[in-house]
């Protein structure tokens, strides 16, 4: 089987904050349609890596290629336009807007209508139809007209991911999508993550091993800002090094 093309590639990424090296020479390739998990203990530099990839932070060294194009010096919003979109570990939503308004403005922006001051939001059928699809897909239809800040946490978490998908990403970075979601609202969320479009390449950061092992077909283990190892889930689960530093002293690893 030939490997599908690489859509996102980090090459020799280094990020230093003063004397502290948060990311040390990380190489990472994300292939088309991948379900790639990035795991590692707290403080391993996972979120720093996401911030470097999305352009929130500037790398000290190294470069980032998206679909073969060097995007190292692009602003965050320019990377989004080229198809790389992220979600946040802590919800970053538009609190005073409704889920419908949020998605409508995201879809409009994505379609290049964000600068049109004379065209009412949601005037165009293609925008609202896309919103309806997303609302249904993420179980948000019944709350679409409520203000985002009054929604239940699980719904807010779903909206967090729906916003990212509204940008029609080719590369999606999921930063702990199920973090803090209560058990009752969890299933809905897991289903939507599992149902992400197959052609979207996903990089998942997660602590929840059930989700990681049921979702990922490739894994990278990050420790102290550097890549410890990379491989398919079985290899990682049986890697003694990984067990030692991360999964805790050789205990049996639960498969999801």
């Amino acid at each position: 089987m030939s490997s599908p093309e690489i859509v996102l590639s980090a090459q020799g990424l280094v990020k230093r904050f003063g004397g502290i090296t948060a990311t040390g020479n990380v190489n990472l390739d994300l292939r088309k349609g991948a379900r790639h998990a990035l795991i590692g203990p707290n403080g391993a530099g996972k979120t720093t890596l996401i911030n470097l990839l999305t352009g929130v932070l500037e790398p000290t060294e190294g470069r980032i290629l998206l679909q073969g194009e060097d995007i190292t010096n692009l602003a965050p919003h320019q990377r989004v336009r080229r198809g790389m979109v992220r979600t946040f570990q802590i919800n970053q939503l538009f609190d005073t807007l409704t889920p419908l308004e949020t998605l409508a403005l995201t879809v409009s922006q994505h379609m290049g209508l964000g600068g049109r001051w004379w065209q009412p939001l949601g005037k165009r059928r293609d925008v609202t139809e896309r919103c309806e699809k997303l609302l249904a897909q993420f179980h948000l239809t019944e709350v679409m007209n409520q203000k985002t800040n009054v929604l239940a946490y699980g719904k807010r978490r779903l909206l967090e991911i729906a916003i990212a998908l509204a940008c029609e990403p080719s590369v999606l970075l999921l930063d702990e999508p199920v973090a803090g979601v209560p058990a009752g609202e969890r299933e809905e969320l897991l289903q939507t993550v599992a149902a992400l479009p197959a052609d979207v390449s996903v990089l998942l950061i997660e602590h929840d091993m059930d989700l990681v092992f049921s979702f990922a077909n490739r894994m990278t283990v990050l420790v102290n800002g550097t890549v410890l190892t990379e491989g398919d889930p079985d290899t990682i689960a049986n890697d003694p090094q990984v067990k030692a530093v991360y999964l805790g002293h050789g205990e049996e690893l639960a498969h999801g």
Binding site: S108, Q109, T128
Partner: protein
Amino acid sequence: MNAQESLHDSRRWKLWEPVFWLLALATPFVLGSHALIINEIAIVALFAVSLDLILGYTGIVSLGHAAFFGMGAYTAALFAKHVMPDPLVGLGVAIVLSTLFGAVCSLTIMRGTDLTRLMVTIGVGLIMMELANKLDFTGGADGLQGVIMGPLLGRFEFDLQGQTAAWYSLCVLLVFFILAKRLVNSSFGATLMAVRDNRLRAMAIGIPVTARLAVIYTIAAGVAGAAGALLAQTTSFASIDVFEFHRSADLKLLLVIGGIGWLYGGVTGAIVFKVMQDWLSSITPQYWTFWIGLFLVVLVMVGRERLIRPWTWFGGKK
């Protein structure tokens, strides 16, 4: 209800709105003896709508919005004095120049925090005031005198009672209000609110945040300039008072009274503030600011929602 209807419903003109504007336009004729204050209210309301575009809808704090108001005022006055006395042409020129000035100043609000933005905007306001004070062609501390306005549309002379002035200002206010409403309800307006609510996420969905800030700051400057031009034209005078810090500060109070992030907030705030100021200063010319201050404290402590619903003051659940 589907998505399109929902979005359309929350954005269309409500029934009371045309009624409100018709009543407003009728006031200079019905309340002719109060035309001067009606004119003043319309001007301040336009100024407040302009501040609301950046403060309420985009989250840019400013205490120097008077810089653009003053720019419009001096431009209109100088244009009438030296070039031609036609009010509408003067208004147009004032809007263009304050918009350009706004575009330049927008560079100063891109970076930094709310606090640094407050300082920078105050700074720009002070610079403008000192320039108007120092330069020869602005008339210095005496203000720009000898401004004579031509008739509006070549037919309506500005009368001493202020009826033409009030009608002129109300019409200009209405035009800008309609445009502003169109703007805040558009896709562009929604992206502004996204920037206000969460700048990090706005960037993460591909909104060019700094470009948005620059554009709306520039537009708001133009609208503030229009308000300033109206003041200069309807009073045939421009003085350094138009740049005063208290103008920017009062404007913020007025938005607090009327409600931020709601276009009618600026309009109601202007009505309440000006009527109260007029009424209180006629009762107690020396101490009226005491009562305005008290009102503001009560308003903030009790909350606007409760203050306008006296039946909720005593008893009840909440």
